[in-house]
Structure formats: structure tokens, C-alpha cells
């Protein structure tokens, strides 16, 4: 029996034509870190809020710790939540924000003090404990929100885009802090984000959603390496996967602009005879410009002209047109190209994905 069980959970708002969440099924194990990820409006926050009890579950069953929680009040579900906008009590100091729940739970004063001391210490808030939220930075406020959640010893942590209001640098450090905190506390965590990097770097498993429907559930690398459909392939990974409409003749893949590449027999056979209505997907890092790969796949070398570059420091993104579509290749920092340079490249055959154009399901 899993710690959190969600069976066929649906959410339909009054007056809405469509479900916001449809048949959401997920089992979360104790101490697991799950990330819900997807674009805006995909239903990830709605699902989290149904788990929290802030949204009614239209149909389906939610169990936490083996107990059905559909009708249970939020405070009796054994959860703590961190909100996107921190949701701190603006008129209370840091320590009062953190201790407020404990006071309401009638925890003895000395125990409250111990817990608040512990929380401010591990969150690095010792010197701010007498400050009010308006006198704190975004990162400090989010740490107070975390402190408020951790002192209550709840078994489930729900986090609704907790880092989305922070700047990029702070997001990275807070990401590490949350991961560290999760390991230290061993709480079951469900984390909602629209940032696939956050999901990839923090979660044990990722639930990727679109239009209220779960697209794929899996470990980060499973989603990256074996996406079940074009949406997942495109959503996970940055820069996003390149997609081309292609047809296959023999061992040759034909692109819309007439370009051709030859693929080994073992890859072609995996298409099970499907020759058209195909989408080829390849990630930027699997487009190779180095001489070793150009030698290896010399019968499939392609040529294009660099239209834009992004120098990232550790690597470069090269933008060019191939197969009639904008393409991005992620190359090492040593493979320097300028806008207007001609480049030769090959697709690493083993890294190519194929999708059915009609269903957008992955073929492999």
C-alpha cells in the first residue's frame, strides 16, 4: 500500500465544459519526492490543491496513509504546504509566523521554542527572527514559509511553485536547500512546478501533465530518454527536442526539404514497417558536429548555415534551418561557430526518436 493513493481523480469546476483534471492516478511512496510538471493550466496546481483539500474532488478517491481523505478538512489531512506567494502572515514576525500553527495545536511553549530555534537554525534565519515579512528578501520569505511547514512534523509536504517568484540565482540555491531539507526530514513531498529543470533536478519521480491529463510518470531520466509522446519529449529538456515531419524509404529518412539521412537497419526495423506519418525527434546534444562523428556517419552528413548562436559558457547553442524547420544543436564550448558560418553535422542515429504524427505517441 502506497502512502498517498490517487485513484481516477477528476475535477470539474461548476459551469465548466471540460474537466480540469481527468482520471488522475498516482501512488506516492513514503519519503518520495514527486514533481508535478506541465505548462500553465495543465491541472497540476488543481491536483495539488485537491490533495491539500482546498479544492473538492469531483470524482475519484484520495487516500493518505491508508485513509480516504476526500471529505477531510485540510488541517486534518496531515499535510503542510508551501505556497507560491509565500502566504506569510504580514503582521507577524518570522518566529511568530513559524510558531503560529504550533500555538494553535496547543503545543507546550518550551517545545514551540525548541522547534522554532531548530527551524530558524537550519533555514539560516536566526538573525531575522524578529523581522516582519516585509523586511525580508524573497528567498528569506520562502525560507520562513518552509520553516512554517517543517515545524509541524507533518508527513506530507505540498509545494506549489515555491520558487517561481525568486530570481534565477536564488532559485538554484533554494532548489538545493529544499532537496537537502527533504533528505534530512524524510517527508513525502509533492512539488508543483512549470520549470522542468526544477522537476528534473529535485524529484525522484516526475508526473508530467497536459490539459488535465497525466502524460507520463517516471524517473527524470526515463522521461528524458524515453518520452511516451511528442509533448513529453518537447517539454522535458532545454533547449527543446527538434521535431521534423519525415517519411522513410528503405533505410533512408526523407525530410520535408528533401534532405536525407541513412539509418541503420536495426533502427528502421523498430518502425514496424511504418513509412509515413512520422515525426523524427532529436535533442540538440545529439546533433553532432565533431570530426569523429562526421567520419562515423559520413554518408548522412548534412549542411546548414548558422543563423543564431547562444553562448552559454559551458556549451553553445547553434540555431540553423534544417528539414524545413528551425533546429538547435547543443555543442561543446570548443565548437565555436559564428552567425553565417556553414556547418556540417550528423544526427546520432541511436539517439533518434520517432513519433506517430497522428497520435503523437512515441514509436521509440
Amino acid at each position: 500500500m502506497s502512502f498517498i493513493e490517487m485513484k481516477n481523480i477528476c475535477k470539474k469546476y461548476a459551469g465548466a465544459e471540460k474537466n480540469s483534471v481527468t482520471d488522475f492516478n498516482l501512488n506516492v511512496e513514503e519519503k518520495e519526492f514527486i514533481a508535478f510538471v506541465g505548462p500553465s493550466g495543465c491541472g497540476k496546481s488543481t491536483t495539488l490543491r485537491m490533495i491539500a483539500g482546498f479544492e473538492d474532488i469531483t470524482s475519484g478517491e484520495l487516500k493518505i496513509g491508508g485513509k480516504v481523505m476526500n471529505e477531510t478538512a485540510p488541517r486534518d489531512r496531515g499535510i503542510a504546504m508551501v505556497f507560491q506567494n509565500y502566504a506569510l502572515y504580514p503582521h507577524m514576525t518570522v518566529e511568530k509566523n513559524i510558531s503560529y500553527g504550533l500555538k494553535n495545536m496547543k503545543v507546550p511553549a518550551d517545545e514551540i521554542k525548541k522547534k522554532v530555534d531548530w527551524a530558524v537554525k537550519i533555514l539560516g534565519l536566526e538573525e531575522y527572527r524578529k523581522r516582519k515579512p516585509k523586511n525580508l528578501s524573497g528567498g528569506q520569505r520562502q525560507r520562513v514559509a518552509l520553516g512554517r511547514a517543517i515545524v509541524k512534523n507533518q508527513k506530507v509536504f505540498l509545494m506549489d511553485e515555491p520558487l517561481s517568484n525568486l530570481d534565477a540565482k536564488l532559485r538554484v540555491s533554494m532548489r538545493n536547500e529544499i532537496s537537502k531539507l527533504h533528505r534530512e526530514l524524510g517527508s513525502t513531498t509533492i512539488y508543483v512546478t512549470h520549470d522542468q529543470v526544477e522537476a528534473m533536478t529535485m524529484a525522484d519521480r516526475i508526473v508530467i501533465m497536459k490539459d488535465g491529463i497525466v502524460q507520463q510518470v517516471g524517473k527524470p531520466m526515463e522521461l528524458y530518454e524515453r518520452p511516451v509522446n511528442k509533448f513529453v519529449a518537447g517539454f522535458i529538456g532545454s533547449p527543446q527536442m527538434n521535431f521534423y515531419d519525415v517519411t522513410v524509404k528503405g533505410n533512408t529518412v526523407m525530410f520535408a526539404d528533401g534532405s536525407k539521412i541513412n539509418l541503420p537497419e536495426n533502427i528502421i526495423t523498430r518502425l514496424n514497417g511504418k513509412k509515413d506519418g512520422l515525426i523524427l525527434g532529436i535533442r540538440g546534444e545529439d546533433i553532432k558536429l565533431d570530426s569523429q562523428n562526421l567520419d562515423l556517419y559520413k554518408d548522412s552528413i548534412q549542411h546548414s548555415v548558422v543563423e543564431n548562436t547562444e553562448v552559454m559558457g559551458n556549451e553553445n547553442n547553434l540555431y540553423f534551418t534544417f528539414g524545413g524547420v528551425n533546429t538547435v544543436a547543443r555543442v561543446s564550448k570548443y565548437e565555436i561557430s559564428q552567425v553565417g558560418d556553414g556547418i556540417d553535422f550528423v544526427f546520432s542515429p541511436a539517439r533518434i526518436h520517432f513519433f506517430d504524427k497522428e497520435t503523437e505517441e512515441s514509436i521509440f
Partner: protein, 283 residues
């Protein structure tokens, strides 16, 4: 850096505003200066600048005030009024605040229609319903009773509207966080909503105080016992008494005006912020 022209126009504006404010201050200064004088001196100074200058500080300087305090119950009326204002501020914040909160945050059938009705009630002058209020209070046997005075004054559509406009912009996630912190809805209202809306609470308190302090008609209908009378009724009865001198009249008027000026000076920022915020926030 300010240009010379801007500096000059700033100075001109300051001088102009100073002159304008003096115009508004003249009656108050005149009242204050003459409240310390005997009638003969008031008449003598009437047509000169001395009308705006208080008399020399001597043994009889506070005579008018001492007479009012000693010979009339005006101080008691003032204390009564302060007491009624305090009751109505507390009850008004609780009742109107809860109503405003319900309209802002709780989903219930026809909530928007209720708001419309409440807004329409704002345009009805209180004088038009005062007879009905009086008859109701009389039938309940609450004439000459503080409860009878207070009861019809608690609910105030304008204050409900003010509260509603401020509460509607309070973030919902704070309430959700409070729920997870084992905070009941009522506790949330008193320990979170009101402290988070200090400005509107201050505004409503000031408006309520001024309403009670300046009210004449309703207390004069409900109260006949002199123990319960309010400052405005006291002012009327003292000033209409033939034995009251002009100086004493001005002393009474000063006594009744000073608290209003103090309250306005202390809370003018909150009043402006409170009223402005009700218009500028999403609602």
C-alpha cells in the same frame, strides 16, 4: 536637480496654500481666542485684530471652561459620547467587518446582488428611516437605554462597503495557510484579517467616532434622561440657555471641536489611505 523656475513656483504654491489654510483657520482661532474672554471683552475686540488674540494669562483665563465643567454636565456628556463611540467602534468593526468579509470572500447565492443592495442603502439618508428606527426601539422598550441608542447604529452600509473593498484584495493563500495552521475562520478574521487591514479599521473607527460625536438627532430622540445625553445635545442645551454667556458658548464649542481636530490630525493619513485603497484595489 530642481530648476529655478520650479523652485519659485513651489514657493508661490506654498504661500498660496498657507494663505488659504489661514482662511480656514480663522474661525477656529477666533473661537479659541474668544473662548477665554468675558462677553464685554469679546464685544470690545470684535472689530479689531484683537478678536484673534487670546487675553493675557491671568487668574480668570479659564473661567469660561471652569464654569462649564462645574455648573453643567457637559463633561459627563462628553464622556458618555466617548463611551458610545467606543462601543459602536468595536461593534461596528465586528459586524460590518464580518459582513464585508462575507461579501468579499465567501461564495454564497446572490452575493453580488447583496452587495448591490448594500451599495444602494448607502444613498438613503439616515433621517428617512429614523422614524421607523424610533418606533421599533420604542416598541422594544429600549428608549432611554444605551442598547436602544446603539442598536440601529451598528450596521453601516458605507462601512460594509469599505471593508468589502479592502478584504477582496487580501490573498486567499494566507487563509489557506492559516487553515493548515489550525486557525478557525472566526479566529482568522480577528487575528489575521483585521490586523492585515489596519488602515480600513482605522478609517472606519474614525468615521464611526465622528458620526457618534456629531450626531444630534438620534440621541435626542432616544435619550431623555440627562444621565445618558451626548455632547451635541449638551451643547445645544447649554448654548440655548439664556444664562450662558458668549464666552461660555465658545468654550463649549471649543471643547466639542478639539477631539475632532485631534482625531483628524492623528488619523488623516489612514483616512486618506483607507478611502483611496477601497477605490484602487481590484473589486
Amino acid at each position: 536637480m530642481k530648476t529655478k523656475a520650479k523652485k519659485i513656483s513651489g514657493w508661490i504654491l506654498t504661500v498660496f496654500m498657507l494663505i488659504m489654510s489661514l482662511f480656514f483657520l480663522f474661525p477656529v482661532v477666533w473661537m479659541l481666542a474668544n473662548s477665554f474672554k468675558g462677553d464685554a471683552l469679546i464685544t470690545a475686540d470684535m472689530n479689531s485684530a484683537a478678536a484673534f488674540i487670546p487675553p493675557a494669562l491671568n487668574g480668570s483665563f479659564f473661567d469660561n471652561y471652569i464654569t462649564i465643567i462645574k455648573d453643567t454636565s457637559f463633561l459627563r456628556y462628553m464622556v458618555n459620547t466617548l463611551f458610545y463611540a467606543a462601543i459602536l467602534i468595536v461593534l461596528g468593526i465586528v459586524v460590518n467587518g464580518l459582513a464585508g468579509y462575507a461579501l468579499a470572500k465567501i461564495k454564497f447565492p446572490f452575493a453580488d446582488k447583496w452587495l448591490l443592495i448594500i451599495m444602494m442603502l448607502m444613498i438613503i439618508p439616515s433621517e428617512t428611516i429614523i422614524t421607523i428606527n424610533f418606533l421599533t426601539i420604542a416598541k422594544l422598550g429600549l428608549l432611554n437605554n444605551i442598547i436602544g441608542y446603539v442598536l440601529p447604529m451598528i450596521v453601516n452600509p458605507f462601512n460594509i462597503f469599505l471593508f468589502r473593498q479592502v478584504f477582496v484584495s487580501l490573498p486567499d493563500d494566507v487563509y489557506e495557510a492559516a487553515q493548515l495552521d489550525y486557525c478557525s475562520p472566526i479566529k482568522y478574521f480577528f487575528t489575521m484579517v483585521l490586523p492585515m487591514s489596519k488602515t480600513v479599521v482605522a478609517t472606519v473607527s474614525v468615521f464611526t467616532f465622528l458620526g457618534v460625536w456629531n450626531d444630534y438627532l438620534w440621541p435626542s430622540l432616544v435619550f431623555t434622561s440627562s444621565d445618558l445625553l451626548t455632547a451635541q445635545i449638551g451643547l445645544n442645551s447649554i448654548t440655548s440657555n439664556d444664562n450662558t454667556t458668549m464666552g461660555q458658548t465658545l468654550a463649549v464649542i471649543t471643547m466639542i471641536t478639539i477631539p475632532v481636530i485631534i482625531i483628524y490630525s492623528l488619523f488623516s493619513k489612514q483616512i486618506v489611505e483607507g478611502v483611496v485603497s477601497t477605490g484602487s484595489k481590484e473589486g
